[in-house]
């Protein structure tokens, strides 16, 4: 077989810094696999990369309709890319619904590669086009560069001797398109061929057909004249040498928990209940039994967190993961973990609310609940991850804080981070921060009585693990006497313990890193203060704004409770602070309350992440007003 380097024709190859691509088609069209393969290929070649799958929200939306469109977005480039691309340079539309649903996100002048068989009368109707209207033919796409490709017909031709049923043949369409894209972006298809061989090792006919489709697509690019005007593109890979892996946020969070357990010498226990978009953390950890991870799929979220509290009492690094509705159910038990002062990591992969809301869409609207959503005075640390890879570092940090400060910690991610992926330079174990559990040594009979609520200089109590002689103790949800931990109804003691619990969390500010600027000058006109998954969009937008000469900086919070100690000073160094959030301004309220300043909020509550253009436009507006 010819390989992808042996293209015959001399086509013009244009070098580009980055490209964003959308693969879109019907749920049944295999767009996720196609996108993933493309992503793997560019990653392995050494490109920077960011991907995001865009599933239909409905269980199984009707085929051919808008709500049935499944997409896979990615951006790759020579230099780091921080988002999957807000506007696409290229869109693969396997059918008319895919085109209709996504056209608004295509750059003016962008490329559309349309599978023409997805634009027949029936499909146009399903997509909701008026009778007789075909966007490929009515000139409505004149602002774009459209390449109608009869993908189905070409695939059928390529596979006419495959011995497969016509349904099986048609299912190879996506590989044809993939091959064509490889050609267009000057990429090798060999990795995909290997993958197909191993994936279908027990179905050689299928493997062969898919491989043929990939190569057919590739050489179609070579042979057809339609791309003559634009030629091919090359995005030269520039990634530093090293070992990488591609991770989604949910994968990264799962790895972080297992890694924190290893590093701290504890056993990992995850008590969980499935919920979109958090389930993959449970799923990934369920596969990590080799690393001793114990996962428990509980009957509900309450049992999930309570089993983790039991495991934490037993000396495990215990965690629970969930999303909004499940997070709400965990609040009572979280209060117990607060007053017991035991380590516990709670990962909330936020999704659109309230109630069931938009279960498959990301949102940042559980910040209030994380901060304030417990009865009584029950403060605890809250951290938030900013990128798929940062889900590793932030979750790991949550585990460190939990174990070293004997407290439940809430780690916020969201459905966007959960499913997005990016390359991650494989970490060396030695680079990970130490995690030192406050485990109390056994007590000899002649030693003074064990005091479970005696505290160290950080106000952290010790961890007495069952099985340790002489440390037997009973604790629970009732207010405790200072030091002894015995039940106490004493008024002054209650006030003391309330303040001690609050002060313990506040003092974490003494041990965490100071807030740094991600970009921009230490004093400037505008600070964009972000948290969570808006990182990529803000980073990109601020870089662009600075390039335009705006006096802008970007700080992104990992620690929301407590805030880094220098945050007040940072906020005071700018004329204005802009806080973009995928909610109605929850961090804005917390910042107002804490610092008595009046930042500008920028809300987007659409179940969609910010785009860099939106942020940039807002920055531009504000800068002009200043």
């Amino acid at each position: 077989m010819t390989d992808s380097k042996t293209t015959t024709k001399a086509v013009n190859v244009t070098s580009k810094a980055s490209v964003s691509v959308l693969f879109a088609g019907d749920s049944g069209d295999g767009m996720q696999l196609t996108g993933t393969q493309f992503a793997n290929t560019v990653a392995v070649r050494g490109s920077e990369l960011n991907t995001f799958p865009n599933f239909p929200s409905e269980i199984r939306a009707p085929a051919g309709t808008i709500s049935g469109v499944s997409g896979f977005q990615l951006q790759f480039g020579s230099k780091p890319v921080y988002t999957p691309g807000a506007l696409f340079d290229v869109m693969i539309a396997m059918n008319s619904a895919a085109l209709k649903a996504n056209l608004k996100n295509l750059h003016q002048g962008g490329i559309i590669i349309a599978g023409t068989d997805g634009f027949d009368e029936k499909k146009l109707k399903l997509a909701g086009y008026p009778a007789g209207v075909n966007p490929l033919e009515d000139g409505s796409l004149s602002n774009y560069t459209v390449f109608p490709v009869p993908v189905q017909q070409l695939t059928r031709e390529a596979l006419k001797d495959s011995g497969l049923s016509s349904r099986e043949v048609d299912r190879c369409k996506n590989m044809f398109i993939l091959g064509l894209l490889y050609w267009l972006y000057n990429l090798p298809y060999e990795g995909t061929v290997e993958m197909l061989k191993s994936k279908f090792s027990k179905k050689p006919l299928i493997a062969d057909a898919n491989i043929k489709a990939v190569t057919a697509g590739y050489f179609f690019g070579d042979e057809t004249e339609i791309f003559a005007n634009i030629g091919r593109f090359d995005i030269p890979p520039e990634k530093e040498h090293g070992t990488y892996r591609r991770v989604t946020g949910n994968e990264a969070a799962a790895i972080a928990l297992a890694a924190a357990a290893k590093k701290s010498g504890l056993e990992l226990f995850l008590g969980s209940y499935p919920i979109t978009p958090a389930t993959e953390i449970l799923q990934n950890l369920a596969k990590m039994k080799k690393w001793g991870a114990k996962t428990f799929q509980a009957e509900d979220e309450i049992a999930g967190i309570c089993s983790s509290i039991g495991a934490a009492f037993g000396g495990a690094l215990a965690a629970t993961n969930t999303s909004g509705p499940g997070f709400a159910l965990k609040t009572e038990a979280l209060g117990l973990a607060v007053i017991m002062e035991i380590p516990l990591v709670v990962i909330n992969v936020q999704r659109g609310g309230p109630s069931t809301g938009l279960p498959t869409k990301p949102e940042q609207s559980d910040l209030f609940m994380a901060m304030y959503g417990r009865h009584g005075e029950a403060p605890l640390p809250v951290v938030a991850a900013s990128s798929p890879v940062d889900c590793f570092y932030t979750t790991y940090e949550a585990a460190r804080l939990a174990v070293e400060h004997m407290t439940p910690v809430i780690c916020l991610t969201d459905g966007y981070l959960a499913l997005s992926s990016e390359p991650w330079a494989v970490e060396s174990p030695d680079n990970l921060a130490e995690i030192k559990p406050r485990i109390h040594a056994p007590r000899k009979p002649e030693d003074p009585p064990y005091l479970p609520y005696k505290r160290d200089e950080n106000l952290v109590r010790s961890w007495a693990i069952p099985g340790t002689k002489g440390l037997e103790h009973r604790i629970g949800g009732l207010e405790k006497q200072n030091e002894t931990g015995n039940v106490s109804h004493d008024p002054d003691n209650h006030e003391l313990m309330t303040k001690l619990r609050a002060e313990k969390i506040a003092r974490i500010a003494d041990t965490i890193p100071l807030q740094t600027l991600d970009n921009g000058a230490a004093k400037a006109d505008l600070l964009v203060l972000g948290w969570g998954s808006s990182y990529g969009a803000i980073k990109t937008a601020v870089a662009q704004a600075i390039e335009k000469g705006y006096s802008v900086a970007h700080a992104h919070l990992r620690y929301i409770n407590p805030f880094p100690k220098n945050l007040r000073e940072i906020l005071g160094s700018y004329k204005q602070v802009l806080i973009p959030e995928n909610n109605n301004g929850q961090l804005v309220h917390i910042i107002r309350d804490t610092f008595l300043i009046e930042p500008v909020g920028f809300s987007k509550v659409k179940g969609l992440p910010f785009t860099e253009m939106e942020i940039l436009a807002k920055i531009t507006d504000l800068i002009k007003e200043l």
Binding site: F269, K290, A316, P429, T468, I475
Partner: protein, 344 residues
């Protein structure tokens, strides 16, 4: 149950914490606590390897009085906490103290799920048919018509039959005893501790303050013999002061027969077999009849059902062991993953 360590010679006192029980005088909880403390030495597990977990209720205060590790949790959630603890630490002997409200009302879901999963827990269910701690509201085991502060016109909620619920949920051990059963209660607690899996011991406990005498029809000395039947494995179901009454099955219907009246002999009687789930299901239903009602059946006391089944933590640990049969994963392997690639 944790393996027995025969060298220790502990007594009940070794398991008493320094906290004075704060139950009302005459509360059945005192007697149960006493038997629990007295049975622990027999297990040969030292206090640091035992944990008591509870929810909220009068009965759920029990862990404070034990010189072991303990969690006094939140209402209804003792069982998942205990399951997590046992899953993480299969080496511990884990006990649960819970009430009819704690286990069967708010904790009902955890109750049925724990039973089917079968972690090795010893669950002591204090059934006083009332919410004691919150001062006398009816519970899911309160009898129909009971007037309480929340049921001034009488309870209209058909009560649970805990034995039927346990067996229906897939539990592997159900036994019943009275708070004042003394040595017998102790023997039942020992059986529960020895059972590998979730052992559910329902204790008919008197709350003299809010539901006094709820069990008197069975517990009072003068009628106890007529209204209860103490089960013994492979023995016929015999009861009565003179042990002259028995249970026979007519079709699918158990009936009381009088051995002194002609025509029935011990050979006709139901032979207790705690391993027979069908027998146990019918036996459990005896509790649906009231002592003075038509066709009343005596209340079975003792082990109604016991089944051998792998425990949850053994199955879980087994899967971890299997996954590690070629060695445990290292941190470096974890961080590297299966799909890493090298850029040169």
């Amino acid at each position: 149950m944790t393996d027995i360590n025969p060298t220790t010679t502990l007594t009940a006192k070794d398991f008493a914490s320094n906290q004075e029980p704060k139950w009302c005088p005459g509360c059945g909880d005192h007697a149960v606590l006493q038997q629990i403390k007295s049975v622990l030495p027999e297990l040969g597990v030292s206090s640091e390897n035992i944990a008591f977990v509870s929810g909220i209720g009068c009965s759920s205060r029990l862990p404070y009085y034990m010189a072991t590790y303990g969690i006094h949790g939140i209402h209804g959630r003792a069982l998942p906490m205990a399951t997590g603890l046992k899953a993480a630490r299969p080496d511990l002997s884990v006990w649960v103290a819970t009430g009819d409200g704690d286990a069967l009302s708010i904790g009902g879901n955890h109750f049925i799920h724990t039973l089917r999963r079968n972690p090795d827990l010893n669950v002591v269910l204090f059934n006083n048919k009332i919410y004691g701690l919150t001062k006398g509201q009816y519970s899911p085991t309160s009898k129909l018509g009971l007037r309480t502060v929340t049921s001034p016109a009488g309870v209209i909620d058909h009560p649970f039959n805990p034995a039927s619920l346990v067996i229906g949920a897939g539990g592997t051990f159900f036994a019943r005893a009275f708070d004042k059963d003394g040595k017998f209660l102790r023997s039942i607690l020992l059986r529960a501790a020895q059972h590998r899996g979730t052992s559910l011991v329902e204790i008919y406990q008197n709350c003299p303050i809010f539901n006094n005498a709820a069990w008197d029809a069975f517990a009072n000395a003068d009628i106890k013999a007529e209204n209860t039947i103490y089960l013994e494995q492979n023995k016929p179901l015999l009861f009565g002061k003179e042990m002259k009454k028995g249970i026979r099955l007519e079709g699918f219907k158990p009936v009381v027969v009088d051995l002194e009246k002609g025509g029935v002999s011990t050979a006709d009687l139901w032979i207790h077999d705690e391993t027979d789930i069908n027998k146990a299901s019918i036996l459990a239903r005896f509790a649906d009849t009231d002592p003075d009602s038509e066709g009343a059946l005596p209340r079975p006391i003792g082990v109604l059902y016991a089944e051998d089944r792998v425990t949850y933590e053994d199955a879980l640990t087994g899967q971890v062991r299997d996954a590690r049969k070629n060695g445990a994963g290292t941190l470096a392997e974890l961080l590297k993953g299966d799909n890493s690639y090298v850029i040169k």
